[in-house]
């Protein structure tokens, strides 16, 4: 089976063409296989956020190729990139960004709504099913503002899964939660990864959590250090 994600010599510079041009990613090669649960680690300023944005098609590399499901994204126009992003990538952010104007169920429906344009029964059913899966079936009509951080993050996980994405990118999903909630959210993602073979790439600073992943990718100074298997 083809790799879900292939990065081939990805470089990223800021302020290109000016005297203060600075390269933050110096030729990243990385491949992620379907169903992998990968931790992305690295100190602050190592370029891992930039890398995550490029993988998430939110940002473009200065050079190099990025393949998603074997499709080269390098020359795709913005609109096609946006569509591809919506269909193949799910996001979970650090500050569990639910849209506060909508209920939990509506937040989960949102990626499908954006894609299809109108609400329909199938979306509602899918949202209900996903909320049940993350254990928040009873909270579906609650506004995000009425939920705890852990609950909001579980809704965000459900939302990331709405479009059945190839890859879920999580940027320090547990960074802002207490230990119990953090473990619960992490465990949830791990379970979903096992049940559905959804591929996860998780940025984390938490070594304990990283150890539970299939693989740890470490970025230091814009380069990937040799891959290592989590001990145990």
């Amino acid at each position: 089976m083809a790799d879900v994600l292939v990065l081939d010599q990805i470089r990223k510079s800021y302020n290109v063409g000016t005297p203060v041009e600075v390269e933050v990613l110096h030729g990243i090669d990385l491949a992620i296989r379907p169903g992998e649960f990968v931790a992305l680690m690295g100190p602050s300023g190592s370029g891992k956020s930039t890398l995550l944005n490029i993988i998430g098609l939110l940002d473009r590399p200065t050079s190099g190729r990025l393949l998603i499901n074997g499709e080269d994204t390098t020359d795709l126009p913005d609109a096609a990139l946006t569509k591809l992003r919506g269909h193949t990538i799910g996001f979970v952010f650090q500050y569990h960004y639910l849209i506060s104007a909508f209920t939990a169920a509506e937040n989960v429906m949102m990626p499908m709504l954006v894609d299809r344009g109108h609400p329909d029964r199938q979306m509602e059913e899918r949202a209900a099913e996903l909320l049940d899966r993350v254990g928040l079936g009873k909270w579906r009509d609650n506004r995000a503002t009425n939920m705890s951080g852990g609950q909001q993050q579980r809704v965000a996980v459900a939302r990331a899964l709405a479009m059945d994405p190839t890859l879920v990118l999580a940027d320090e999903p547990t960074g802002n939660l207490d230990t119990a909630s953090a473990n619960a959210v992490f465990e949830l993602m791990r379970q979903i990864n096992r049940e559905r073979s959804t591929t996860f790439l998780i940025v984390t600073h938490n070594m304990d959590l990283a150890r539970q992943c299939d693989r740890i990718v470490e970025v230091v100074d814009g380069r990937i250090t040799p891959a290592r298997q989590p001990p145990g």
Binding site: A79, F93, I99, A101, E106, M110, H118
Partner: protein
């Protein structure tokens, strides 16, 4: 979530509903703006209609006159002139040449409402020892009274004009000590005279007019002015009073008459009306502009507040076009809702003002005209203004970089 609503509408309405305080404030702002526009438009339209009615119902909007007589020097040959002083000739009372044909041509024009031929000139009204100079207007009542509504102003007697009858104003009646049924001796400068019976007395609401104006049948005037079969003017009213000058110029260009419009003969009045209209338009424009800027300001703030939401929406595959729509819709919805509330406010204020503001004699200051068209126009313009005001915020929202937006 309403199934029939598209995504951009759902998001736009939810965002408006969530920012309740902002939405309420800007809606109030729009409503007051639209209210002022509706109020001013309706009141000024009413005041102006009233004003114009008062001024223009006592005079025709275009008068056709015979061309001025011009003195031409005798010529001995081509390009050679006698050494002579050319004097301006005195203008005699002359008939319009072929006036029946011209009158018929006028009546055939779609923009002319009434065409009334009149024969008028200066006369002396004598009763006993008193004499007053008067303007004698001979006309066909059924046409002429559509232009100058003398019947509305009759205060004594009746509206009957036989060949020996005359209608006079209240001032003249007072000066001559005459009342309905009395006889007047009307004499022209050429000493043609005739005894006429006063059948009615009118009050045009203007002392000068009540002193000088008198009305008789066309034939009576023709014989007194020695204009048998002739008329001195053809009075016209037109469907669009502001087009009077253009129509007058057209007529003058195509027919051998002088055409004078009320715009040319009442330049000051016309300027006043125009100035009022222009200032009204300007005020409305500036109110609309300030409403538009208000909407834009609130939406810009909303874009900044919602930048994280926008970033997340973009991350989950929302196209720039959809983000653009969300804010344009918000602008339009604010404009539309504001105009509904504003129309109610404006109409309410208008009714209150109409009720409170009275003329000295207790009659209404202006007629209360609430045209549905005004409200439809207000709603349409406010909605479009809202959408236009939403353009800058929408473009800003759509061009947000999702990475920056999410990072905040």
């Amino acid at each position: 979530m309403k199934r029939w609503l598209p995504f951009a509408w759902i998001a736009a309405l939810r965002f408006l509903a969530e920012g309740r305080m902002q939405t309420t404030f800007i809606l109030s702002g729009i409503a007051i703006g639209v209210g002022v526009i509706v109020f001013m438009s309706a009141m000024l339209a009413g005041l102006q209609a009233n004003f114009i009615k008062r001024v223009l119902t006592s005079q025709p909007q275009i008068q056709l006159l015979p061309p001025d007589e011009v003195a031409r020097p005798l010529r001995r040959g081509e390009g050679v002139f006698e050494a002579a002083v050319v004097q301006r000739p005195a203008q005699r009372v002359l008939s319009i040449d072929q006036w029946q044909a011209i009158r018929d041509a006028m009546r055939a024009r779609p923009d002319v409402v009434v065409a009334a031929p009149t024969a008028s000139g200066a006369m002396l009204a004598v009763r006993g020892d008193a004499s007053r100079s008067i303007t004698l207007t001979g006309m066909e009542p059924e046409q002429y009274f559509k232009i100058v509504r003398v019947p509305d102003y009759i205060v004594a007697g009746e509206l009957r004009l036989g060949t020996d009858d005359i209608l006079i104003g209240t001032e003249l009646a007072k000066d001559l000590g005459a009342s309905v049924g009395d006889k007047l001796n009307v004499t022209s400068a050429e000493a043609r005279s005739r005894i006429l019976t006063i059948t009615g007395i009118f009050d045009l609401g203007n002392k000068g007019a009540n002193q000088r104006n008198t009305f008789v049948a066309l034939r009576t005037a023709q014989s007194l002015l020695y204009l048998i079969g002739g008329v001195t003017t053809i009075d016209l009213t037109v469907s669009d009073i502001y087009a009077a000058e253009t129509i007058a110029q057209e007529i003058e260009a195509s027919l051998p008459v002088q055409a004078e419009s009320w715009i040319a003969t009442n330049a000051q009045f016309f300027t006043a009306v125009r100035a009022q209209q222009n200032s009204n338009t300007l005020i409305r424009l500036f109110v609309a502009l300030s409403v538009a800027f208000g909407i834009a300001a609130v939406l810009i703030v909303s874009v900044i507040q919602r930048s994280k939401d926008i970033g997340i929406l973009r991350a989950m595959g929302t196209a720039r076009r959809q983000i653009l729509q969300i804010f344009l819709i918000q602008g339009g919805v604010l404009g539309f809702l504001g105009s509904l509330v504003g129309s109610v406010l404006g109409a309410g204020a208008l009714m209150l003002w109409h009720h409170l503001a009275r003329q000295v004699d207790g009659t209404e200051l202006f007629p209360l005209v609430l045209e549905p068209g005004l409200f439809v126009a207000a709603a349409a313009i406010a909605t479009l203004t809202g959408v236009a005001a939403g353009v800058a915020p929408a473009v800003r929202a759509a061009s947000l970089d999702p990475v920056e937006a999410i990072r905040g």
